[in-house]
Each structure stands twice: as C-alpha cells, then as structure tokens.
C-alpha cells in the first residue's frame, strides 16, 4: 500500500507541511497579541441593576490587571435589562457582532437563556454568577460555571449554620424561610427544604413564604413569617427586597434569634448597610467570599479602590474578575479564538491563583467548578465581616442578635 514518493511529490509535501506549521505558528503568535472579544451580559438596568453594575465593575477592573498579567481581552457590553428574553436577544447580538466568548449573566433565569444561545451558536459561555443547578445539568458542551450551584451553596451555608450554633452555644429549634420567587429563589428553596433534614440541621422549617422578585412592599410576607413564631429567620433575597424585608421586620417588631441569608445576595452589599444603618447590623450571610490572603485579591482590592472609590469590593466583583481571568487564561492556552479550541482549553483550566476562597479553579465534566468554599459573614459596623470558618475569621459571631430597640 505504501507507494514510493517522487522527488517532486516529496518536495510538494514538505512545502505543504512547512506552510501549515508556519501558518499555525503565525496564528498562535498573532492570537496572543490580538485581544479576545468577551461579550459581557449583565442586568445593568431594571430591578437587578445595582448588582449587575457591581458585576460590571468586576469586569472593568479586570482589563488593566489582566493586561499586566500578560492577557489580552476586549469587553463587549450588553444590558439584559433584568429580563431573560432580553438576555437571549443580547447574547445573539453579541455573537453576531463577533464576540468570541460570553460571560455573565448574574441571574439564573437570564443565564439559562444565554446558555441556550451559547450552545446553539457554539460560542463558549463562562458564568460569573448564577446558581440554578439545571444550567450545568443539560449536557451543554460550551457552558462553564465558576460559581457554586444552589445545592453547593445551600450545603455550605447550612453546614456553616451548624458551626455557628456550636460556636455560640445557641441552637434555634424552628425556622421560617422567606424566599424570592424566581429561578434562583426556587432552586434555593428546594435545596434548603431538602437538605435541612438530610444534613441533620437542628431546626425544623415551619413555613416557607415566597414572594414576587419585583415586590415593592413586603408587609404581608413579613407578617406571615412573623405569625409562624419561628426562632430563626432564613432569607433568600436579592438586594432591594432584602432591604424591604428588614424594614418591615423592624416596623412589625418581629425579632427572631437571628436573620441568616444562606447563599443569596443582599446582606453583604454596601447599599444594604447604607439603607438600613443600625438595622443592617448582625445580619448573617453565608456565601462564597474573597480570600483576603490571596495576593491577587490584594491587587484587585487596590485597583478597585482607585477605580471605584465609592463602591464595595464584594463577591460580585470577585467572581466577575475570575470569569474574565478564566476566559483570558483559556484563550492564552488555546492560542486561538476558535470555539472548539477555547472549549478544550476551558475544560483543562487549572488556576491556582484565585480571588475567592476555595481550591484551584477546575471544571468537572459538566462544566462546574466544585472547589468553592463558603464563609459566614455578619454585618458589623456597616461591613460584611468574616466570622466563620475560624481560620478566615476577622471577628467573633454574635448570636442571638440584639433586638431592634437595643441597637445604638
């Protein structure tokens, strides 16, 4: 079967191989000097705008820092207007305009819509924040999530509650859960109600009160939660509804042992403390958080303070930065904007240098990073303070918390 090559054939073959190698080499070299076009999809307007803009600041601060680290990315911005249908259209628009990779979209419903588009068009998506487990359970090949999914968040958050009760020597017997009625809220609600008995958490959930994510008044919801007579108040909220909830709790003189937000946003954000003042104090948030000991965290913190002196460096910023880092790192290793090459590089991601608390960033076969760890944060003097785990703690937890009238 093996025929003999003539000199002419050998010469032509050698030229073809050489030309191909040269072209590959050229492409690789060119790829490292050309920026990766990253389409950023975030709810920068609408009812989730505040958090979307927080994430945007994380991407904004990533560009100069990544450039100093030898990466090259170019951001293409799109606003999802806090609506999944807009997120879908914007994702398609970004791809049409030449985005090589998508990042976003903070909200699970919007991220699920973007993930479908990403898969249909074969353009990789790196999720900065979104916790609905279904997103990475669809068998998608182009979707990667660095953020813990709802069961991971809830398992970590509930385990930390057990640690909290042990540390403070106070164990509530009953709890009521108030949860926002959106994709994330429902996923969290299901995870909590399933995991509490499974993990041997010492309290019983008496009632679950779910509410509209765009609610402007939570007086009825809080009254319903209060009427349960539970010792502990669990809250799966966003930002604005978290503020509304605490306001109503104060007005209705509803004083449980403590208020804990397991894995949801709101309580650790600066506008929460700013809006509520002394009433924001002692609220717990069990969530993924920045590791203050990581050198990269210190670099981002310094750059962030310089770029955004009036805003807080929180997990929205941290995870958005890490999403940009993951994308830039995959591009550097792939040496190409080819989607298949990018996906292959994303699959083999191993980033030991992190911003968030956890193991090095790696993705499992479903595209999920399972190595994030949670911290128990308590608002103290207007700032989210790590109180657990003890190795990362900046202060001691206060539980049960003082009543509304006993605060400064």
């Amino acid at each position: 079967m093996i025929g003999r090559f003539s000199r002419r054939e050998f010469g032509l073959g050698s030229f073809a191989i050489g030309a191909s190698l040269a072209a590959n080499g050229f492409r690789r070299a060119r790829a490292q000097t050309t920026a990766l076009k990253v389409g950023i999809l975030l709810p920068r307007s609408g009812f989730e705008a505040q958090i979307g803009q927080g994430c945007q600041r994380g991407f904004d601060v990533s560009v100069p820092i990544l450039r100093d680290m030898g990466y090259a990315i170019e951001l293409m911005l799109a606003d999802t207007e806090s609506k999944p249908e807009v997120a879908r259209v914007q994702a398609e628009k970004l791809i049409d305009e030449g985005a090589n990779l998508l990042c976003g979209a903070w909200d699970s419903g919007q991220t699920a819509a973007v993930a479908q588009v990403s898969e249909q068009h074969g353009v990789p998506l790196v999720i900065n924040i979104a916790a609905d487990p279904k997103i990475t359970e669809q068998g998608y090949k182009f979707v990667f999530r660095n953020f813990p999914n709802a069961p991971m968040l809830m398992t970590g958050a509930l385990s930390l509650m057990r640690d909290l009760f042990e540390t403070t020597g106070t164990t509530p017997k009953t709890a009521v859960l108030m949860a926002v009625n959106d994709t994330f809220g429902q996923a969290a609600q299901n995870a909590i109600t399933t995991l509490v008995p499974k993990l041997g958490i010492p309290f019983r959930i008496l009632d679950v009160v779910s509410y509209d994510p765009q609610a402007k008044d939570l007086s009825i919801e809080v009254a319903k939660a209060k009427s349960s007579g539970a010792d502990l108040h669990l809250a799966v909220t966003r930002l604005n509804d978290g503020i509304l909830m605490i306001r109503e709790m104060v007005k209705q003189r509803y004083e449980p042992m403590g208020i804990i937000s397991p894995g949801s946003p709101g309580f650790y954000e600066r506008p929460f403390s700013k809006a509520l003042g002394k009433y924001a104090e002692y609220a717990f948030s069990h969530n993924a958080w920045m590791d203050p000991n990581q050198p990269l965290t210190k670099i981002i913190d310094a750059a962030f303070r310089k770029m955004f002196p009036n805003d807080a460096f929180d997990l929205n910023v941290g995870f958005s930065f890490e999403a940009a880092l993951i994308a830039a790192d995959a591009y550097k290793r792939a040496g190409s904007t080819n989607p298949e090459a990018l996906v292959e590089a994303l699959r083999t991601t191993h980033l030991a240098q992190r911003v968030m608390i956890g193991d090095p960033i790696r993705f499992d076969e479903k595209g999920q990073n399972a190595g994030n760890r949670l911290a128990s944060l308590q608002v103290r003097d207007g700032k989210p303070t790590v109180v657990l785990p003890v190795v990362n703690a900046e202060g001691k937890p206060v539980f049960p918390v003082p009543g509304w009238s006993q605060r400064g």
């Binding site: 920068r44 307007s45 009254a223 319903k224």
Partner: protein
C-alpha cells in the same frame, strides 16, 4: 387572628394611597376622555421630585406634598395645553401613541438623571409604629393614608363648590353644551389634566414613604391604576377610592391567607369578576 387584622389594616391604609393615585387617572378620563398611559411615569416623576426636594430643602415629604402636587399640576397643564389638545380631534390610537411616547421619554429621562438604582427617602419616623389593642399600625402608612384621604376630600370640595370645578363637571357631562354656554373647554381640559397630574403628584410623594423609587417602577403603577379605575368605574371619583381600598385589602388578605407571590393575581381576579358582573365598574355610569 391579630396578625390577620394587622394585615387588613395595612391593606386598607395602602389602598387609600392607591385610591388617590387612581383618582388622577379617573378625573382625566372622566372629563377629557383620554387614557393617560403616562400615569405611572408621572407618579415616578413625583416620587423623584419629592426625593430631590427632600434632599435639597430638608423638608418632610408631607410638607412637600402640596408643592409637588403644584409642580405636577403645572406640568400636566402645559402638557395638555401645548400637546394633547392638538390630538383631541385625532383617532384614539394616535392619542394612545402620543401618551406612550410621553411615558417612554419620561422613563428614559429619569434613567439618565437618576440611574437605575432604587432610591428611598429617610425620615426619622420611618420605622415607627403605633400599637392599638395589640394591632400594630405603621406610622408612615397611616400618615400616607391620612394624606390621601385629605387630598381626596380637597378634590371633592373643589369639584363641588368652586366655579372652575363646576365648569369642569359641566364639560364632563356635556362637552357641546359647555361650549354652547361659552366655557373655554380647551382651557378647562388643561386644568383637568393638571388636576389629575396634581393628584398623581400628591400620591407620589406619599407613596415614596412606602416604596422605593426607580425609573422602571412606572409600568406597574400604570397597570395598577387602570385596574383600580376599571373596578371603581371609569371617571368616577368615589369609584377610584373604593377601587383602591378593594385592591389594597384583596392583595393583603389573599397574600396572607394564600400565597404572597400570588397577590397580584387576585387584583386581576377582582377585575375579571367586576367586568363580568358589572362591566361599567362599581360606580360607573351606563353608556
């Protein structure tokens, strides 16, 4: 049981503010026969105006209520006089489009001026509540309801006893007849739109005490105002107030007894029942 009473009281008090808000829409439709699709946006403008005046002058929202109502009255007067009057002879869909355009422009302007963040007003009594036989009454909600009742009473007195008020009622009853007896209908329309906008201005200031303002809040309140005035009867002042109370209480009761996230569904349910049983609304006149 006591908690349920608390919830119903809160629903009644919120319903009063809803009623004042819807009153503006009802007055405008009852006289000018134009549907104000920019109603919620005007409410948001009033909320922002109260916020800005509170921050610059340091005055309580209750003291600012007449001032904001006056500002909105003037804005409404100019809008009707300079713009909407030119569309009065045109087909209804032209009028709808005009007011939808106004609403989009107002939302965009608020977004440019204030950004998308929710903003609130800080008052010393924000967290106060009164206890009455075990029933907790939110001070802010109660003051807002009193303001709404006061505003509605002033409006009723205006339409009942002043010359302009009577002229406006004449226009509403018979526009051609009003023109025949020499009334300046276009000017009265402008005054009416101004009054409707003034009601929105007053209720916006009060509502800011209960909810945060952001530019996208408007659409929800336009819809709510429509539900209220259709339940109460388009063009009926007592109907708008009763509709507000019914919506406030039904939301509160259904939210507490069934499921809070379904409370809006019950407002629509109420609307469907009223449309089926009494299509002209509770206080509406038959065509």
């Amino acid at each position: 049981m006591l908690t349920f009473v608390n919830v119903i009281v809160a629903g009644l008090l919120t319903g009063c503010v809803y009623g004042l808000m819807a009153l503006g829409l009802s007055v405008i439709f009852g006289v000018i026969r134009i549907v104000n699709f920019a109603h919620g946006e005007m409410l948001a403008v009033a909320m922002y105006a109260t916020l800005v005046l509170n921050q610059t002058l340091g005055l309580d929202p209750f003291l600012l209520m007449p001032l904001v109502a006056l500002v909105l009255f003037l804005a409404g007067y100019v809008l009707q006089d300079r713009l909407i009057n030119r569309y009065m002879a045109r087909p209804e869909h032209d009028q709808f489009l005009l007011l939808i355009a106004v609403s989009i422009m107002l939302t965009s302007s608020m977004l440019i001026a204030f950004g998308p963040d929710a903003r609130t007003i800080q008052v010393d009594y924000a967290y106060d509540s009164y206890e009455l036989g075990g029933v907790l009454i939110d001070k802010v909600r109660m003051l807002a309801a009193l303001g709404a009742v006061g505003g509605s009473a002033a409006l009723w007195l205006f339409f009942r006893f002043t010359r302009i008020g009577k002229s406006i009622r004449a226009c509403a009853d018979n526009q051609v007849g009003a023109q025949v007896v020499g009334l300046d209908v276009k000017r009265l329309y402008a005054v009416t739109f101004g009054i409707g906008a003034g009601c929105v201005g007053a209720s916006g200031g009060l509502l800011l005490l209960l909810v945060d303002v952001q530019p996208y809040i408007a659409a929800d309140y336009t819809l709510l105002a429509f539900i209220i005035v259709i339940i109460g009867g388009l063009g009926s002042m007592p109907g708008a107030l009763l509709g507000g109370l019914l919506v406030g209480v039904s939301e509160a009761a259904s939210g507490f007894l069934i499921m809070p996230s379904l409370k809006s569904m019950f407002s629509f349910g109420l609307l469907i029942i009223v449309l089926l049983v009494r299509p002209r609304g509770l206080f509406g006149r038959s065509a």
